[in-house]
């Protein structure tokens, strides 16, 4: 049981706990905050898997940009109160059960994979220059394509957001 393993367990527990908090906490703002924490723990995982670049990007993009955006919107709608309307507990139960069974099934299915499972490796492909290398040689086309995505998203945001 190496140090990485111990760290993994701790992080995993944190991740799951905070994720659960995201979906359970009454106050939306809290959920946002919990989600941010989740992202941090996930970044932790990335570091463990020494994908440093992704860890950083994750924090910047998600925790930094996206979640802040969420927060803004929530504030703007001042929904930061605990009395958010709840689904009837039957529906909740049903949802939980469905999700639980899905988990059960997938886990049951995937644990059959044990024998052909390989160990995780180390190595520094996660470093920015290596990624950059590949990104701008092999993956340049998708990279360009994603620009179309952004353009359309931008136009969309304008169409939707702009007051008439």
């Amino acid at each position: 049981m190496g140090i990485t393993q111990i760290l993994f367990w701790i992080l995993a527990i944190f991740t799951l706990f905070s994720a659960l908090m995201v979906i359970t906490s009454k106050n939306p703002v809290y959920s946002v905050l919990w989600l941010i924490i989740t992202f941090f723990t996930i970044s932790g995982h990335y570091i463990l898997l020494n994908a440093q670049f992704l860890a950083v990007v994750n924090i910047i993009v998600y925790a930094g940009a996206i979640m802040v955006l969420f927060l803004f919107v929530l504030m703007l709608m001042n929904l930061a109160k605990d009395n958010e309307p709840q689904k009837s507990k039957w529906l909740k139960l049903a949802g939980a059960l469905a999700g639980g069974s899905l988990l059960l099934v997938m886990v049951a299915a995937l644990k059959g994979t044990e024998q052909q499972m390989t160990e995780l490796g180390t190595g520094n492909i996660g470093l920015i220059e290596n990624l950059g290398q590949v990104l701008f040689t092999q993956y340049v086309v998708p990279f360009e394509i994603s620009s179309i995505l952004f353009l359309s998203a931008m136009v969309g945001a304008v169409i939707i957001g702009k007051k008439e």
Binding site: G2, T4, Q5, F8, T15, L16, A19, L20, V22, I23, P28, S31, V32, L35, T38, I42, H45, Y46, L49, A51, V57, N58, I66, L69, F70, V73, L79, E84, P85, K87, L91, G95, A96, A98, G99, G100, M106, V107, L110, K111, T118, E119, L120, G121, G123, I125, G126, L131, L135, Q138, Y139, P142, S146, L149, F150, A153, M154, G156, A157, I160
Partner: protein, 109 residues
């Protein structure tokens, strides 16, 4: 260590996201849960990329990079999606003063 743990972890996260989607009424929270699902996927991808790197680094030094790049693209897309999604939610809020998805039932049958 064994990749299996990561599979289970991310599957668990993924399912938690799904459960969130199923159990919450607030559109934004639902959306956040979806983001959670995406992150679960990211985690899994990274884990796999490491795995494949170990498996194939002998013949190809950049083996497994693609997985991490995919994560990168997912983040890109997620960002774009968020911008649009929030715009839509705000628009709806402007019109109805609510983002409760239970009230979205003008269209049915």
């Amino acid at each position: 260590m064994n990749v299996q743990y990561y599979i289970f972890l991310s599957v668990a996260l993924f399912v938690i996201g799904i459960v969130g989607v199923l159990t919450r009424r607030n559109a934004i929270i639902v959306f956040m849960c979806i983001e959670l699902m995406l992150n679960a996927v990211n985690l899994l991808l990274v884990a796999f990329s490491k795995m494949h790197h170990l498996a194939n680094s002998a013949k190809d030094i950049t083996a497994g990079t693609d997985g991490q790049l995919f994560v990168f693209f997912i983040m890109v897309v997620a960002a774009a999606e968020v911008s649009v999604g929030l715009a839509i939610i705000v628009m709806l809020y402007r019109n109805t003063q609510s983002i409760d998805i239970n009230f979205l039932n003008r269209l049915k049958h």
